[in-house]
Amino acid sequence: MPQPPAVLEAIALSRTVEDVREGPKSLLRNIDFRLEQGQVLAVIGPSGAGKSTLLRLLNRLDEPTSGQLLLQGKDFREIEPAQLRRRIGMVMQRAYLFPGTVAFNIRYGPAQHGVSLEHDQVEALLEHVGMSGYAERDTATLSGGEAQRISIARALANHPEVLLLDEPTSALDDTSKAGVERLLAMIVRERETTCVWVTHELAQTRRVADLVLSMRDGHAVALGPPAQVLDA
């Protein structure tokens, strides 16, 4: 019997860029993984390992030089980029909220394809991330932890099938960090969202991951369950 398509699959994914001074520079080489519904893949490795490059390819913010990416069995290149990005939400290291109110930010994603969220829907999303009553707050007045929670709610407003998290707690203080991590773990469990979580914290990896991809210098060093990869 043929295997059902994975939610997200990378096959021999590579990216090389042309450096003006140094010539071709390989940022990512032959990355493979396969994620089923609700699985969390933690991507770990030192700075410059290619973790963020991988995430940018998964959101198609950059183009792979070779290899293939499949969403529910369909090649990324066959999906219109804006539609693909709605289906694959991304939370970046910094929140990058847009100027204006929290509600404007929450409504932004759905509004891009003509869906207008009602006040109750905005409130429900804010409640989900522990920010009830913040809808009319100006984003300029939020703390780092609050802004990151809003950026998570903003990504969830599109109901993504896959959530990409690019070190979402690295810019936060310890108290906010623990709160945001708990929130993300809860969201992934409750919604059964398939997730790729870039982190450099091994303790966090043990807490949240089903699979770990360890990277160095743009290639995969190991891929497997946390105990197998981290204790090797």
Partner: protein
Amino acid sequence: MLKFLFHTQVSLGLAQAAVVALVTIIVAQLAARRGALIGREVPFALLRGLLQILAVGALLALLLRGPWWTSIPMLAAMILAAGTIIRQRVPELPGAYSISLLCMCAGAGGVIAFMAILGIVEPKVTMLIPVGSMVIANNMNIQALFLNRFLGEVRAHRGEIESALALGAKPGSAVAPYLRASFDASLIPAANNVRSLGIVWIPGIMAGMVLSGSSPVYAALYQFVVLGMIFTAGAISCIVATQLVPRRIFTPHQQLRALTR
């Protein structure tokens, strides 16, 4: 004082230009010592500007007696030259030259043609060249300000733009706030000129007309017409630019290009 030393009009003009250039270079060098990069460009820009305007003066002396249509290649050449200058201001923008030409043809070219057809600018060389050059020169500055500001905004807000893309926004929507900010900023000088007309400054064309014997009221009205043309041409070229520029800074797969200088 110079009048006592130089007795012909040409020698007096050269002396006046030399004094102004000297003062400008001294001020620019003072600015350069304080870290302003523009100071290094000034001596070359002054020399280039002087040679260009002398060449144009000589050419105008020949052309002013010609038929009206000789102003068309002159104005077209001005637009081509202005496009080159704009491209040098924004070398990191792919296709900057073609964008500038299209925008200026639509803005400056369209407004000059429209005004000439209506008879607001008399269709003769002595009117089309000086008025047209003013509109084109200002249009060039407005375009350069627009593109420079926009690329600066994009570089400064790369994170916000990619966040918008990641939320499913199309490139045009992702950069819309920065296009608006650049549009407004680039038209501030032209808008200020219209607002301050007659209060803060009396522009050159009006002064020239009064000196050459025109009625001051007609000269004032005509100056208003010219400033209106400059503002309208600038706004049209910026509107065209807002349509063309986003396509150049994104890849066909809606990815923001690296815009390094």
